[in-house]
């Protein structure tokens, strides 16, 4: 007969969500490959222990792209070792994480240059060139 201790009645420290999440990513990646439709998973609503978070990140690994964005605070976009699967982390400061996402997509939206920004950039560039030509004329 095995002696039971108090520990045997305690909840296990693992949530078991790592394998579930990896399976969800597998389905999302298959969907992306077959239809081109992206999927985003919000990690903040999925409980994981610190050890599980590390296990999850190690399972995804890192790929070829690692981008840092400075827009309303720092953000990081990390391609995992699985092409099309990205980790996107938004922060208010270096210490404060606001949101963590897994994006299964060709390229995360946050990296793409947006039409409104491009229009504003064009206006600025044109103004600068006009100023330069005026200066040259003087």
């Amino acid at each position: 007969m095995t002696d039971l201790t108090l520990k045997d009645f305690m909840p296990k420290p693992e949530t078991g969500n790592v394998i579930l999440l990896l399976n969800e990513i597998r389905h999302a990646l298959r969907h992306l490959a077959e239809t081109g439709e992206p999927t985003t998973i919000d990690l903040s609503g999925i409980p994981m222990t610190k050890a599980e978070t590390e296990e999850f990140e190690a399972a995804l690994g890192t790929g070829e792209v690692h981008a840092e964005i400075d827009a309303g605070g720092p953000s990081e976009v990390i391609e995992t070792s699985f092409a099309g699967v990205w980790r996107v982390i938004h922060r208010a400061s270096e210490e404060m994480t606001l949101a963590r996402y897994i994006e299964v997509t060709r390229i995360p939206e946050i990296l793409v240059a947006h039409p409104s920004d491009m229009r504003a950039a064009l206006t600025r560039l044109e103004a600068r060139l006009e100023l330069s030509s005026e200066e040259e004329a003087l």
Binding site: L6, F9, M10, G45, G73, M96, L98, H114, S116
Partner: protein
Amino acid sequence: MTKTDLTLGDRLQARGVSRRAFLKYCATTASLLALPPTMVPHIANALESQRRPSVIWLSFQECTGCSESILRSNTPSIESMIFETISLDYHHTIMAASGHQAEEARKIAMEENWGNYLVIVDGSVPTGNMGYSTTAGESNIDTLKHVAEGAAAIVCMGTCSAFGGIPYANPNPTDAVAVSDVIKDKPIVNVPGCPPIPAVMTSVLAHYLAFGELPELDHLNRPKVFYGQNIHDRCYRRPFYERGQFAESFDDEGAKKGWCLYKLGCKGPTTYNACAVLKWNEGTSFPIEAGHGCLGCSEPNFWDAGSFYNPLSTATHLDAGTVALAGAVGVGVGAAAGAAARSQQKKIKAAPAKAFTPTKAEEESQ
């Protein structure tokens, strides 16, 4: 095109805020509100096309801690950004105008936006001697009734406006009441806390702006997304509770090892708030992480719910043995203690606040 005709998209572009920063703001707002990521484009479209709604902030019997909290959020931040999306037309503490000019600003904002403006209230409303709290010679209750009449909705920031708070505590000398005790015909959302977490306050506003309605509320009119879980369930010290490891004093070995503060009066099991998740001071920590139990400040009557340093089991007649048993069976007893303490709170709430009776000396001086 006047300033008020400009959409948020126009304003952000004029201020040089990039689309990336805006999308990031929408993504973090969706995450905070526990909305599915598929809602991010919807939030972006809705916010972008929004014209700045007029907001009137009324301060009654309060300590200005709620304003401090919301205004001292980290910068540059999503919080500061959201305040560029509303037109804060009246706020005693921070508006540049004063005296008659300030009151005129409120009057104009109300006239121009009648039926559509948002009212934010911090502080409880005195119903006793009106002289206890007035603004420009008008009693708080008259101001509230008048301003609420043309409001689309009312947001009660902080425990005082939501539940009466500290002014409502015994002996409640001003006969203070919550806003919901005075206003019965307008949508009201309570954002309690002493003070509330800045991101909670601004996210509630963001939800209203994006969807044109208040978020889903619990039985105390609190947004479920932030007040749906208790502190205890999300506390990083919870495993110690489940193992029956408790600090017995603030300087014993248990306290030094970061064990559960339940026996030192922590009100985490009966307090519904997001402190353990969102934390304070740019996500640095929250009271339990700093070594002090939760006071339960986002719950009604937290000031009158017994000593901050008595364990919930004392208030709910659970003895130390029962608490120790909690270690063995984990969640069950914690939930039982929580339920019992909540029942106790209901009794306190049901009992009318003790009316203020002036002493003879006070009567003579009046």
